[in-house]
Subunit: 387 residues, 2 copies
């Protein structure tokens, strides 16, 4: 295990009807809110009305930034920053999934920075503070509700970049599993793939010795494998939605990266794809992950991949290469069983652009990853296999 | 899953040589410290000198409260409160295991309370604030380094009582596994039994549906079972010490009680024993736990106890009662294999006082526990079986 720091300042309010406590939580930080949300779904489900009611009954005024898209854009961030400044906003409240939360985080960080918030992503500026952030989560996926990360796309440059800063931890996050009852099957599947990918990126580590962290990672993978099919078949199953929601949060709140180097190679490849094509992040990850596993499988990586196959998929056998391969096929079959696309062609990616993507993924750094070590040729091979 | 709140404000600094950052962390909160520690072991190991050096080089003055005993006493707390007041202390720094940390917590809470700090435990007063608390952990066991709990004994009344308040979270805790290299085999075993008992008290819950929490609990149990024998055989094995230390922390930082009712029946029985006899807490828990499991085994509890046996001990079989029984015997055998006492007689408990203990355990509440439901006669039966 490597040395590490760990702290989780975000206050989680988990369970049914916690939304009624929203106004009270917000009031700890101020009386003027920027309400950030996506398309109209929160209006259709009635969540919007419940949020407004809780704000109103606590004397909190609000301005709105709606229409934040999946793979949220820097233009939305700029718009939100302006709204905050024009209205002396004291807290940025995200109601939605990871995209909405990420957008809210960078708005909060941008308010007190004079330049353009894209500067944070291209290392022209550091985040040195942020308005308080609160969230109401509507999708089990990104873990953004309890971490310090954000991913934003720039439509002008075709880039999708991530950032991390301790100032980006939400002060509170409301996690009501019933709010995810209306998440459609494909989004439920994509969210699950996202959660599993977060676990994989930390579980497949070159650092030896993290037994406790590996076992906790397997706990999270087993939970996803157990409950995703249930949530898809029975959207109103509370235990399924609750387990997926809490797993999504703990899978990326820092616990699984304690004491280890992490990989994130698949995420880096996927970010380039979804910046160019607006592919749903989890769908892209589900397509790429088994191909990444197959590509990096070697005598060096087989013991860990076999451990995964044995402990998560109950595969029996002595030959690590064989067992690992069976585990990889189980992984691919599981994603397909959830209705996720099996290759990049299905989601509209053009074969002619694979080389360009491989260039972009490895433009700043080679090799990519840590457990896997990917040069440009490896990335291209994975993209071709996934096509 | 039940509704819950979750937040972990304590900053963990984990790894080798983190002690060098002590002074810098302390200085965030003030320049005058009460240094709380136990017997002379931190002087023998050189830790005391490293602590003092880090305080001195950061311009931090200190007064000392030494001699805090296992099962820490309210008299030590009173003494510490007086030292804090007389010296305008700004942070209480615990260097030691759970006993020292618990003592420091209640000192910190007592400084701003006019009455006697024992009032907190007998519900004559509530904790409404505390001085900042910092810790340097020297034993993997209680989890007090990242939670809001404390247990204190009152030698006048023969009581050992616990308390929880959000004001008791340490601001920071330094977890250096190398500081536990000198922990003797029996203390390593007792610490492991303590950790495992914390997991059991939360894992054996009557609340259905907490799949993710159950799997994480099993991860922690497997880690203890894997590494305790290694740490006992090879005291300087860094990975063993690191895994046990981090497991001890996450086993009782609130994660395993998210969404569920917890039991704590064994702890309540053990507290009465160790208040009367000064038995090492973990030793008492190791003696009682298998007897508690045997006593509560029934058609109602067998499925969960069998799940434990299958998932943690790899026991195969269809009959839950049989599988559960085998798991219980494995648990008892494991504790014995670590060199822990097998019955209460071995640790000096008098048979003539078992009835009195059963009275005391159930004086304020029956039934005790949640997964197990213990009336006085159950407690007495467990004590007799454990004798």
């Amino acid at each position: 295990m490597l040395n590490f720091n760990f702290q989780l300042p975000t206050r989680i309010l988990f369970g049914r009807d916690r939304i009624s406590e929203l106004g009270k939580e917000v009031r700890k930080y101020g009386n003027r809110v920027l309400l950030v949300y996506g398309g109209g779904s929160i209006k259709k489900t009635g969540l919007y009305d419940r949020v407004i009611e809780s704000l109103n009954s606590n004397g909190i005024s609000y301005v709105e930034l709606s229409g934040v898209q999946p793979n949220p854009r820097i233009t939305s961030v700029r718009e939100g920053v302006k709204l905050c400044r024009d209205n002396q906003v004291e807290l940025v409240l995200a109601v939605g999934g990871g995209s909405v939360i990420d957008c809210a985080k960078i708005i909060a960080a941008g308010v007190n920075y004079e330049g353009d918030p894209w500067d944070f992503f291209i290392h022209n500026a550091r985040i040195t503070g942020a308005l308080p952030i609160g969230t109401v989560l509507t999708l089990a996926a990104t873990g953004s509700e309890m971490n310090a990360n954000a991913v934003i796309s720039n439509e002008d440059t075709g880039q999708k970049l991530d950032i991390s800063s301790r100032h980006l931890y939400p002060r509170f996050s409301i996690l009501d599993p019933t709010l995810t009852f209306t998440v459609p099957p494909l989004q439920t599947a994509a969210g699950t793939a996202d959660i599993m990918s977060h676990v994989f990126e930390q579980y497949f580590s070159p650092t030896p010795g993290g037994f406790i962290v590996d076992r906790m990672a397997e706990a999270m993978l087993k939970t996803c494998i157990h409950y995703a099919p249930i949530a898809i078949a029975e959207p109103n199953d509370y235990e399924a939605r609750a387990n997926l929601m809490w797993t999504g949060t703990v899978a990326l709140n820092g616990l699984l990266s304690t004491g280890r180097e992490t990989d994130w190679g698949v995420h880096e490849i996927e970010h380039v794809i979804s910046a160019l094509y607006d592919v749903t992040h989890g769908v892209g990850l589900a397509i790429l992950t088994p191909h990444w596993m197959r590509h990096i499988l070697s005598a060096r990586t087989a013991p860990k991949l076999a451990d995964y196959a044995r402990r998560v998929w109950d595969i029996v056998g002595d030959d690590d290469m064989v067992v690992a391969s069976l585990g990889i096929e189980k992984t691919a079959a599981f994603f397909r069983s959830l209705g996720l696309a099996a290759n990049l062609r299905e989601v509209g990616v053009e074969e002619s652009r694979l080389e360009e993507m491989a260039d972009q993924v490895t433009a700043n750094r080679q090799p990519l990853g840590a457990f896997g070590q990917l040069n440009r040729s490896d990335v291209l091979a994975i993209l071709r296999a996934a096509y």
